[in-house]
Point group: C2
């Protein structure tokens, strides 16, 4: 395909994009009508929206359009999975500059489609408009298959904390890329294209997870959301975390404690959950900590007794910044 | 509330926004978790996404944040309704500049919430990020209540064409505003805040509509979508259209045939549908034309016999541009 988005025109681009989509069992009516119709056999639908901006959430010189598509879809599909649902469909809102080569949104759509397929979902519809900044807005839908949604608020003191998927890989890849390198490739790839463990969400729900989330802002930050919502403390045992030797090598090369990436790096979309202590977890779940009681009210400064809700590492506050707040920089 | 979005911070803004939301029966789990859970009692969910950009789809000097919120929500809820579904919930993706006053997104949310209430839906979740251009991405969900979705492809030769809601009001209001005037107020208001006839979608489905859409790009353009999808011709009788006297006055003042606004003006989100000829339509539906056979294939130029799918007005092509293609300007 040659030419720019502007030369192709809105309807031409929409035709190209919809022609890339493959069918999916849950998508009853796909793009081309006023709205899509998606199966929701459970009688409820799980829905999550995220917006990604060029320059802020991705860079065209670091990631191909295809990888941005996979990443944008993965991020939303992981949110659906983190409720314990099976992804069914995704809708795309896309802002593209006129002068953008038309291949870019087309390859983006290929990435979205392939990531949807990896998660068992289909592309159901979308909207494309012209604007200054490439903006990818995705809404993912999912089905709970009769189970209760696993929220962030059900963790109880005594529960174990377990994780499945990758931690810190995207952050290590970002560190490599931001210093102008393109290797080690495994970490760069992990930054460009996360691989959320999609089956883990519904599996975690079936195993009896009391709280669950995906790690998008960093393990401490995301467990912090569970701690706050559940009014508990969560302590992570650092020795239980997996720090690959190659990640340690990168850490040494760039002067960063690799544990910091594992504890605070987001975007890998690992699934972390709390389970009753007696739960027998399959091998691909790694137990990394425990849930403790928290002081839910009382005078400040802290009296003797439990600390307020929050996350500790080996019993102490992690003294480096965890996650990031997008507006504060 | 004082200060900018940047001063309030991401989490502060999200707290403010979620505090504005009222509960809705279909929203089982609202904002604050990885994803929302929305009732889909029908076993299917209708879903539609649209993106609005400042400068392209709204102007801050013409519309308040509240009106932009109502309009953005209305546009998506109308798409859901146009399938014959009852709106249940909406998700918001929002891009806001750091320096934007924090009141702006808060009032936008008030508008979205109120428009949702008017349609019977709730705000289920969203995402807020910082960026250069105010961008409002909305996904609306709906429930078909056991009826088949009414697509654009079911119109048959012999059907009648009927419309309910407003036509050309937003376009007349835009003409007024773009010439620097602020009245007549009814049209300016219609441009700032459309009032889609939400109950008309499910009602049209229950009446047996064979095809249906909302008028977002203009009557000719949107009926054109039905004509193409259904492989039929549609002829509009101009005498059957309602051109209010005050709209004629504006037309005279600005040198525009008001019929042009009624035929090509979008954004009022009237509901237009085709029905079997024997259908007894309630008074609020206005019969405006009929469905004719089309030549579905054959050599070009056109031989004797039916014309290809398309829309005519009083038997002839409307010779002014209908609707607009967003990239071509």
């Amino acid at each position: 395909m040659k030419g720019s988005v502007g030369e192709l025109g809105e309807f031409g681009l929409i035709r190209e994009l919809t022609s890339r989509i493959s069918s999916a069992p849950a998508v009853r009516i796909g793009p081309g009508d006023d709205a899509a119709v998606v199966a929701a056999p459970d009688g409820r639908v799980v829905a999550s929206t995220d917006i990604l901006l060029e320059g802020r959430h991705f860079r065209r010189d670091w990631s191909t359009a295809y990888d941005v598509g996979r990443k944008a879809a993965a991020q939303n599909l992981a949110d659906v999975v983190a409720m314990g649902a099976v992804p069914t469909a995704l809708l795309l809102g896309l802002v593209v500059p006129s002068e953008l080569p038309a291949t870019w949104p087309v390859e983006l759509m290929d990435g979205i489609r392939d990531e949807c397929q990896a998660a068992g979902a289909g592309v159901a519809g979308g909207d494309v408009v012209r604007g200054e900044t490439i903006t990818v807005s995705i809404t993912a839908l999912g089905d709970l298959r009769g189970r209760e949604a696993v929220t962030r608020s059900g963790a109880r003191a005594g529960d174990i904390v377990a994780v499945t998927g990758w931690l810190g890989w995207s952050a290590a890849g970002y560190a490599v890329l931001s210093r102008g390198f393109r290797s080690p490739r495994a970490f760069v790839e992990a930054h460009r294209r996360p691989e959320p463990p999609y089956p883990a969400g519904p599996a975690g729900a079936a195993l009896g997870a009391t709280a669950m989330t995906d790690v998008s802002d960093g393990l401490i930050a995301d467990l912090g959301h569970i701690a706050q919502a559940s009014k508990v403390r969560i302590d992570i045992r650092s020795a239980a975390l997996d720090v690959p030797a190659q990640m340690s090598d990168i850490g040494q090369a760039v002067g960063v404690d690799p544990l910091h990436w594992v504890l605070t790096g987001g975007e890998d979309h690992a699934i972390v959950a709390t389970f009753p202590p007696e739960t027998k977890l399959p091998a691909r779940w790694r137990t990394i900590g425990e849930v403790l009681p928290a002081r839910t009210r009382g005078p400040a400064p802290a009296p003797a007794g439990p600390a307020p809700p929050g996350v500790t590492v080996d019993g102490a506050a992690w003294d480096k910044a965890g996650g990031w707040e997008h507006f504060s920089s």
